[in-house]
């Protein structure tokens, strides 16, 4: 099959001279890292109009429904999904209450993602997001350049809560996406809906740089208005002698401990926002700093099925979700007519047995670690009841003491603080369950 590499015209259909120059400068900077890949926004003028329209909608919308009620858009969305989406059409219903329909899981999407693309959407310019997940089952998510570009609208909404309005336009770097992995997809691009400000995706791992000191030099030269990353890459970022300051940090993918967050806030003197985001659904909610997670998408209905966050609707028309079980757990609370999440606990709860036989939910472990700035960690309870705690930072004695106070003074706990993780890991595992 003839499958050519895309051309720049395809990657940046609207690219102007200034944007081209900006990208060239960022790639050819003397302290620049090795950019291993190429990618672009892929937005046509029609796409851009749609993206701007979505941004306006998101900016003025509110997420609202009362307990026991459904948002107004939901019935129409369901009717359309049941008639236009092959997988849901297989339910043999033309109309139904949400609760009457089966839930779906990652496994359903993995079996045949094509069955979730509505019949009447154009497919020629679809893109995919590949996700490995923490359970080892890779998944290809059907998407579109307008969907990818619309992440920004939801980020802006979260930033606005903390009083930050993004301003970076032509000639500036709008965002640096930082990773810290042995292998990382890295490239330079521009964002048309922000006046072609630059987007730079880079890897802070020293292997990607000619000289590790280039990292601070390059990032200072970029002076990005915002950084996005995860607790691991941010824990590396905080060690660099940067002179420039971003206006916000946005963290996704992994649990951000309060102490890690506090250190980042102290270091950069800007809001650090934890966003709950999924490849399958985009940005779902953010930690608003008031002990609740505010929902971001006005056309995404959230229910809890056996405590599991279950989603219907969503920002991606190429993957309409009907009762998608995320594998993440939380509580749903209402503030007036506004639903919010509390106690977002990531993956399926794991229960650990204490010395006295009491069963503790993994959220208790996360709480016990709140005072440590750990970028990443895993806890395993072995079949014999002993524990194996592994992390990449911190003081083993102090960490062990914190865990002993949770599991009992005589619990057997091995602590390693020199663990090396590469990417997302399953955080909590019990061999007793």
């Amino acid at each position: 099959m003839n499958d050519p590499e895309p051309e720049d015209e395809e990657r940046y259909p609207l690219l102007g001279e200034a944007g081209r120059e900006l990208m060239r400068g960022l790639r050819e900077h003397p302290a620049a890292p090795i950019f291993r890949n190429r990618s672009g926004n892929r937005l046509t003028s029609e796409d851009l109009a749609r993206v701007l329209e979505i941004e306006r909608e998101v900016g003025t919308s509110q997420v609202r429904w009362a307990p026991g009620e459904k948002p107004g858009w939901l019935a129409g969305f369901l009717a359309r999904a049941l008639s236009h989406v092959p997988h849901y059409r297989g339910y043999g219903r033309t109309q139904a209450e949400l609760e009457e329909l089966p839930s779906i899981t990652r496994g359903d999407l993995g079996r045949d993602i094509a069955a979730f693309v509505p019949d009447d959407l154009p497919i020629e310019r679809m893109i995919n997001f590949r996700t490995s997940g923490t359970t080892g089952h890779p998944l290809l998510v059907a998407s579109h350049p307008t969907v990818a570009a619309s992440y920004l609208a939801f980020h802006k909404k979260a930033l606005r809560h903390f009083g930050v309005e993004l301003r970076a336009g032509a000639g500036r770097v709008g965002v640096a996406l930082v990773g810290y992995q042995r292998k990382c997809f890295t490239y330079v691009s521009v964002t048309p809906q922000m006046g072609e400000s630059a987007l730079v995706k880079l890897n802070l791992h020293p292997d990607d740089w000619r000289d590790p000191d280039d990292r601070a030099r390059y990032l200072d030269a970029l002076d990005p208005e915002m950084y996005t990353g995860d607790p691991v890459s941010f824990s590396e970022l905080v060690t660099l002698p940067l002179r420039t300051r971003p206006r916000a940090l946005l963290s996704t993918s992994m649990t951000l401990l309060p102490e890690t967050r506090r250190r980042l806030e102290d270091r950069f003197a800007c809001p650090v926002i934890d966003v709950y985001s999924l490849n399958e659904a985009g940005p779902v909610a953010f930690d608003a700093g008031d002990d609740t997670w505010h929902l971001l998408q006005h056309e995404l209905y959230v229910e809890l099925v056996d405590g599991e966050i279950t989603l219907t609707g969503g920002m991606n028309p190429w993957l309409p979700l009907v009762r998608y079980r995320t594998g993440d757990y939380a509580e749903l609370v209402f503030h007036g007519g506004e639903p919010r999440l509390v106690g977002l606990a990531g993956r399926a709860p794991t229960r650990f047995r204490t010395e006295s036989g009491e069963l503790l939910n993994n959220i208790e472990v996360t709480h016990a670690l709140a005072g440590f700035a750990l970028p990443q960690w895993t806890l395993l309870q072995r079949r014999d009841g002993s524990f194996d705690f592994r992390t990449s930072a911190g003081n083993a004695t102090v960490l062990r003491a914190a865990l002993l106070s949770l599991f009992g003074a005589n619990a057997r706990i091995d602590v390693a603080t020199d663990a090396v993780f590469d990417g997302k890991v399953r955080q909590y595992v019990s061999e007793l369950e």
Binding site: M126, T131, L140, L177, L199
Partner: protein
């Protein structure tokens, strides 16, 4: 279709007025709340059965992608065959119900068999034919022709639709596998 059955109009009206409960999700797997076997059994008892018919077990045999629709069609047929006409007619309704629901399951969604006029007629005529009956006032020939016309048109439509669906699914998978799709597009954050 040797014997004359009830008037077609009566059956069509009854189907159009199917109570929503009969279209509920059959209870199997993780979801559903309607116990199809119990619903069908009620019809048999109303028709004079005094013991549980062993053949009901057929309904519970799962294993095709259309099981949910087959059971829902069985529920609709149970409602249809609970019409007073059948009570005194000494019909063996269970084999007819099993055969008609299995035959239609891959072709017609139960909801559509209730909502769409032609599909209602197909369901009613198919149920009668499985009972060896024809609509009142029709010749055997006319009844057979009419059922064939209804079912073959639907079969052709379903076949064409499934071919088109397969073709589109293939095109989607191909598009997603391309390098251009793989390279993805700019998101301001990653999961």
């Amino acid at each position: 279709m040797t014997r004359e059955g009830p008037e077609l109009e009566v059956l069509l009206r009854r189907l159009a007025e199917t109570p929503p409960d009969f279209l509920g999700d059959p209870a199997f797997g993780a979801s559903g709340h309607v116990h199809t076997i119990a619903v069908v059994n009620d019809v048999l008892i109303a028709a004079g059965a005094s013991t549980v018919d062993q053949r009901l077990a057929e309904l519970g045999k799962l294993g095709t992608p259309h099981d949910a629709n087959r059971l829902r069609l069985a529920q609709v047929l149970a409602w249809l065959l609970a019409d007073p006409w059948f009570e005194g007619a000494k019909c063996d309704v269970l084999p007819a119900l099993l055969a008609a629901s299995a035959e239609l399951a891959p072709l017609v969604a139960a909801q559509r068999a209730v909502e769409h006029p032609e599909r209602r007629e197909e369901l009613a005529r198919l149920a009668l034919s499985k009972l060896g009956l024809r609509p009142a006032g029709e010749s055997e020939e006319l009844a057979a022709d009419r059922l064939t016309a209804l079912s073959s048109a639907e079969r052709a439509r379903v076949l064409a639709a499934s071919r088109a669906a397969e073709e589109r699914a293939r095109a989607i998978r191909e598009q997603l596998a391309k390098k251009a799709a793989e390279e993805s597009a700019d998101k301001w954050s990653r999961e």
